[in-house]
Symmetry: C3
Amino acid sequence: MTPTNTARLPLFSRRDRIMIAVTVVAAVAAGALHFAHANPLAAFVVSAIALAALASLVGRSVEALGDRLGPKATGLLQTALGNLPELFVILFALKAGLFDVVKATLVGSILANVLLVLGAAFVVGGLKHGRQRFAADDSRTLGLMFTLAVFILAVPSLTAALHTPAATHERTVSLVVSVIMLALFGLSLPASLSRSAKQNHGSPIAANPDSAAAASKAAMHGEWPLAMAIGMLAATGVGAAFVSEWFVSALQPAMDAAGVNEVFAGLVIVAIAGNAVENVVGIQLAAKNQMDYAVQVILQSPVQIALTIAPIVVLSAGLLGQPGFDLVLSPLLLASMVMSALVAVLVTFDGESNWFEGAALIALYGAIATSFWWG
Amino acid sequence: MTPTNTARLPLFSRRDRIMIAVTVVAAVAAGALHFAHANPLAAFVVSAIALAALASLVGRSVEALGDRLGPKATGLLQTALGNLPELFVILFALKAGLFDVVKATLVGSILANVLLVLGAAFVVGGLKHGRQRFAADDSRTLGLMFTLAVFILAVPSLTAALHTPAATHERTVSLVVSVIMLALFGLSLPASLSRSAKQNHGSPIAANPDSAAAASKAAMHGEWPLAMAIGMLAATGVGAAFVSEWFVSALQPAMDAAGVNEVFAGLVIVAIAGNAVENVVGIQLAAKNQMDYAVQVILQSPVQIALTIAPIVVLSAGLLGQPGFDLVLSPLLLASMVMSALVAVLVTFDGESNWFEGAALIALYGAIATSFWWG
Amino acid sequence: MTPTNTARLPLFSRRDRIMIAVTVVAAVAAGALHFAHANPLAAFVVSAIALAALASLVGRSVEALGDRLGPKATGLLQTALGNLPELFVILFALKAGLFDVVKATLVGSILANVLLVLGAAFVVGGLKHGRQRFAADDSRTLGLMFTLAVFILAVPSLTAALHTPAATHERTVSLVVSVIMLALFGLSLPASLSRSAKQNHGSPIAANPDSAAAASKAAMHGEWPLAMAIGMLAATGVGAAFVSEWFVSALQPAMDAAGVNEVFAGLVIVAIAGNAVENVVGIQLAAKNQMDYAVQVILQSPVQIALTIAPIVVLSAGLLGQPGFDLVLSPLLLASMVMSALVAVLVTFDGESNWFEGAALIALYGAIATSFWWG
């Protein structure tokens, strides 16, 4: 793990080394606390730190792999693997029957990205550069796609809440909607592979190669050899799977000890642990006044959560022994998600930001989180 | 009915001749099945085909009349007569007391246009031309007007669902809202007659003469003499009235036989039968990369349904012996309509489309239709 | 009170003199009717006229003070004092325990500005100038900020209606949301003081100095000496406080006499009395084809109501002996406010208007007002 020099950048940047060190220490400590049946709050906090660090390293490995396989593959890889740690946490929580946590985490990840991280990017960028513009078509398309994905995702919840005759068919509606969403996503994969052309037929939910490159550059990464990128991805992936299980098993006792309800835990704590570190890059891009890339990097994650993670969870629920799981969100979760979708599309259509808008996004996040305090 | 040649185009294009043949055969068969009290499913399917063909021919006749009367009249004619067959079906269903079918058909026609037809236009155009743009002010104004019309139309439903003190006054609220909508529409008529000037005061819900001309050209129609246009409009109008009655009388037994509930029948089957064929032109314009005209042709119909058909149905309910009919939609119909309005305005404000957005629109339509399967 | 001449404009314009005369006469009459315990309907109408006139004069005094203190202070002053008379009415109604009136007035002021006054501006401007454009970033930012403010303001209502576990904590959620909103507003104050620079970090909810200047010019005011501006502001402020109390004390008996329910009275009558006259300037700017200024002048008031008046009312409820007051709106009030927020943001993002859009905004206002007739 000693850094090797390339012509320009060391193999492991300073950030890389810190992240690897934090990850190893936190993951080992999380495992020790888990098997020692230690204080659940300590086990939870340490595994949350390990998970956040692992999420960051998985993202780093995907980027490194993308550097090697070229821009055509980057989008596909990031689309498929970018939310891997969140997916692990959600699947272990599902297996443990924590349906409320699963649904709150799905929505919370969306809210954290659209309101908290985008808000922070607007504040940081706006304080440094004043009014910032992001006029790229890709940003607008991403905002629109997010809204469409959320509207599709909202159908089972709306049906359950508003359409009495279908009330006993929630699981079926959820399955059909999940198949529709994955079919939509599957259709986009061939296109994202041929995404290099300018006037492309590409998938707007896959990472734009330019923004991926900008994100990679903003993080000042050294280039990793292919074998190392694959090895690191495998190692962090496996690590994320283990830590996720420890994290989920500590979740309920820790929340009981702290007096925090499950929904709030999923919506705020789990969602931030899974998204915060990896999204530092989006805020860094805003600080460098590369707002189009910042907006794309930040909004891509919620689009993928809505369009791929949510249906995968529903379709794999049977395999995990939870055939009763569906996509029916509680009414306030649904309302919060729809508000965040409208905010995302309006903000990208506006095409400019200032610090005050960012503060308002964070304020909206705070207001929503407050109302979930009583779960 | 033998085609006569003009200098450029035959009086009846190949499409014209096919439509007329299909219409005559299907209408005669529908009448025979109706009076023979034959299998209701067969009667329903044949009358649906006849109705779709008639809808297409009514549209064709209105266009031909517009060609003769000049661009000033085209907008007014299309506004007044373009949804004639749908209006007949809805009025006969209202007379038969099928309130749920009427309301589902109103909303279904809106959804079919905004999600299914616009989605298909984006897919067809996007696969052929990549990213397509439509920046015209008229498109944006149409999207905004549609949202405003849907918001006005939503007031009686919102009142019934959310405002207990007015719960027993649903019919009165519906009547007042209907008068407001027709007054708004009436105000726009003088303006649409003087719509030729560029910087006009015109009505954005009437057809733009340019897009009407483009639609006419896309369909490669021959020009019809005035008498023939009027005669064909009268013949198809009368035919549509008869076939509508047969269609509605077959609807309930056919749906019972097929195990389909009334709301789904209205939302999906009736709405597609009434809108599909006439909207082929919108998709053809997208394939020819004339996206502004495509969007205008496709969105004009739902605006008119919301702003004129809906209030006309309410105000004529008393004449048809159904004084209890109101504009209160079931909550899921309301939510679906509001989502489609937001989609329409966001899509037109975005000003560009790709095949994936189109696929997402169709996916949203599929998800909504699924949830109404249990009626 | 005799007008003095400056080089260009008299100290008191013709409008000034009319307003002062109306104010004095109406305020004196309102006081007389109040203390004579006269017919409550007459007392209500006269105090409403006095209040509307006072609102206009307070706005005039704030403008005059802004002229003297320079553009940096104008925004801050208008933000802090522009809605003073509405605030008085709301606080007296709160003190009298008329919670429904308070909430209806808050929402009604928003609806009156966004739908009625903006609609009237579009109609007047559109009939005179045809299609009008307003492309300024400030207009779009204001529309977006309004939507964000309304979404934050909606959280307590959504929580009460949709989230059972928090149902007994409505007051706490309202307090937290109020503190969040005022913190957001407080953060913007330093920025609005340094708002002169073009590429500013400024607060988009404070008045743009340019639009304030245009508004002042549109009203063709003479410049007032500083002492006079302060004196007039103090006099009209004190007057507004007295008349507000008389107005509120006449409200309930007058509405009982007229058979109008409290919610409708707050939503329509009180809101129009508090907003109508001062917003004439917005309509005048539209008539002069200065649409950017018109939109900013008109939308600034609802942003401030949502972001400052609403939380101030909640936080001062305890001081007024009404510690049970919260921000939970009735569902239809909430739905109407959300619709108006979406309309505001879509209209500003569209960047152009025509008379028909204006008519549709007024029609939506009429439909909503109708549904509240049964309170």
